[in-house]
Amino acid sequence: MKEARPKNRKRDLLGDIIFLVVVVVISTVLLIIFPDRRFRVFTVSREFFIEMITILPAVMILMGLFSEFVPGKLVVKLLGKSAGIKGILLAIVFGALPTGPLYIAFPMAAGLLKKGASISSIIVFLSAWACIKIPQELVELQFLGFKFMVLRLALTIISVIFMGFLIEKIIGKTRRKEPIKP
C-alpha cells in the first residue's frame, strides 16, 4: 500500500498533463478552423479562470491546515471508540474535514473496521469523506448558489446515513466470512 502510493501519484500527474495537452491541442485546432468562435471561447475561459483563481488558494490553505492540525491518528482514535448515533455523527464530521483524497480514507476505514467500528459508521465515514468536504461545499456555494448547495448537502447527509444502515443490514452477518486481505 505505502509503496504503491508514490507510483500512483506519478501516474496521476502524467495523466493530468496528458489531459491538459490533449485539451490544448484540440482547442488550438478548433480555434484555427473556426476563428469566429475565438472571442467567445476566450471570454468564457477567462471568466471561469478568474472565478477559480480567486477561490482556490483559500481552499487549498484550509485543506493544508486541516491535514496538518487534524492528524489521521486522532480521527481513528475517536472513531474507533464511538458507536451508534454518536459514531454516525462523528463519522460525518470527520469525513467532512478537509483531510485529503479518498484513497487515504480506505486504509483508515479498513483499520477502523478491524478495531470494531460499526459498518454503518464506516460507510458514512467513507461517503462523507468522498462527498461532504467543507471546502468543496464552499466552492459549490460560490458556483451553484446557496439553495443548490444546502439542499444537496442535506439530501446527501440523509441518504448517506440511510445507506450506512442499509449496507450494515445487508452484510452485517456475513462480514466475518469474508476476511479482509491485509
Binding site: 484550509l62 471546502p135 452484510i171
Partner: protein
C-alpha cells in the same frame, strides 16, 4: 472564503509555527499539482460553451434529455476522475447553458461519491461486497437526490 482562510492561517501561526508553515507548503504543492487540471478544465469549458450550442446541451442533459440523459450524466460522473473542486465550475457552466438541476446534481453527486478509478483499491481494503454495495447504492441515491432537487428547485 478568503477571509476565513486568512483567519485560520493567522490562528495556526500563533498556535504552532512549524505546523502552519508545513500546511502552507502543502497547500502550495496541492495547488501546483492541481494546476494542469484547472487550466485544462477552464479551456474545456471555454470550448464547450463556445462550440456546443445550447440546443445540443439541452438535448442531452436538459429537459429533452429525459431519464436516459440523467443516467448517462450519472455514469459519466462515476467514471470521471477529476477533483470535485474543479467540477463545480463545469457544472455551473452546464446549468447556465440549459442543463437541468437534476442532471447537474446527479453529475456532482456521482462524481464525488463514486470512485470508479479508486474502486480496485476500495475492494482490496474493504472487501468486494462492501465496496460494490457502497458504490452501487450511491449511484441509485445520486439519481434520487437529483430527482428531488429537480422537483424542489
Amino acid at each position: 472564503m478568503n477571509g476565513l482562510a486568512v483567519l485560520c492561517l493567522i490562528f495556526a501561526f500563533v498556535k504552532d509555527r512549524e505546523k502552519a508553515k508545513r500546511s502552507v507548503f502543502k497547500a502550495l504543492m496541492a495547488f501546483l499539482r492541481m494546476l494542469p487540471v484547472i487550466i485544462g478544465i477552464v479551456i474545456f469549458i471555454g470550448i464547450l460553451l463556445g462550440f456546443v450550442s445550447k440546443e445540443v446541451i439541452e438535448r442531452i442533459v436538459g429537459v429533452r434529455g429525459g431519464i436516459i440523459g440523467v443516467v448517462l450524466v450519472g455514469l459519466f460522473g462515476a467514471v470521471l476522475h477529476i477533483p470535485s473542486l474543479i467540477a463545480f465550475p463545469l457544472a455551473a457552466s452546464l446549468l447556465k447553458s440549459g442543463a437541468t438541476v437534476t442532471s447537474v446534481a446527479v453529475f456532482i453527486t456521482t462524481l464525488t461519491m463514486i470512485g470508479f478509478v479508486t474502486l480496485p483499491l476500495e475492494i482490496r481494503e474493504l472487501g468486494r461486497k462492501m465496496a460494490l454495495l457502497r458504490n452501487g447504492i450511491s449511484f441509485i441515491i445520486a439519481l434520487i437526490i437529483g430527482v428531488i432537487m429537480g422537483l424542489l428547485l
